[in-house]
Symmetry: C2
Subunit: 173 residues, 2 copies
């Protein structure tokens, strides 16, 4: 009944990837919880004076995470209309979506990503993503899908730290 | 020469852990780079009005990361005098250290952690940390050291996002 006798190394790799996916899921939940905390209009505020608005960061996170679908060879982006949030700063373009619409897209994206990720094998996670050539991948086998997921999870934590600085004025009753 | 024939599964779990360690190292470097960007006095500023000062977040990160040494059963904290930064908000206690001193401690801690982590085997990473009982660990084997490292890496990214909001006034020449 000891770990050493029942766990093969394949099990170990699977367990590690499962832990990484669980962390991803928990960080998504923290992000979702943040956007359910206040009234939608509060997310039009900047996280700090002169900095990104919360609505922009929501669009940014959807767009960046949506990019994993083509990057992992799993299909097309769900929301190509939000790709503008990936390479452009806040206030350099008009946001043509409400907080409510973005929240709905965020939830749909996570449903789709969760389903797709749950079907991926260890070998798929360790395989190259579509933005790296076979030649470059053979030189640096860490340029795999798992590394992208680890990086995107940290990217999300980075922006969640900023979002938690959002100041929301209490209504004076 | 194909991956499938040269990589054993043990290699796979080792490779995954190596990737996680590389991410940890790269996030440490980003943090170090941030604290080498400005004059030491600039880190006495708050990251946003009324929020944590950068010097506090530096002490906080040292203290939280230093806690991994006892948590992984690798010895005692290097800087027990900084443990006050883990459970106490900024400005609730006096910071008895300069930015320079904290930066030196941050660098020493990372040297020690890097050396200790590099010697850990896959099985050690997958084993329980010292704050979980054997009984609880058998119910939830994800409460291992690797999970702590993944969480601490995201914790660091979270605060780096906030630090990057720091406003430093340019000197008027």
């Amino acid at each position: 009944m000891k770990n050493e006798t029942t766990s093969t190394d394949q099990n170990l790799s699977e367990q590690i990837i499962k832990q990484i996916l669980n962390l991803w899921t928990s960080r998504n939940k923290a992000f979702t919880d943040f956007f359910n905390k206040y009234a939608d209009k509060d997310y039009l505020n900047e996280v700090a004076p002169g900095r990104n608005r919360a609505i922009y960061l929501l669009g940014h996170l959807i767009a960046v995470n949506d990019g994993m679908i083509p990057l992992f060879g799993l299909g097309e982006r769900l929301f190509p209309e939000l790709e503008i949030f990936t390479g452009n700063a806040d206030k350099s373009f008009e946001i043509n979506a409400s907080v409510e619409e973005l929240k709905t897209k965020w939830a749909s994206l996570n449903d789709v990503l969760t389903t797709k990720f749950s079907k991926m094998t260890v070998n798929e996670w360790m395989d190259k993503h579509t933005a790296v050539s076979s030649e470059d991948f053979s030189k640096d086998p860490q340029r795999n899908k798992l590394n992208v997921l680890l990086g995107r999870t940290n990217h999300q934590s980075y922006h969640l730290g900023q979002l938690n600085l959002l100041t929301v004025k209490e209504l004076v009753g």
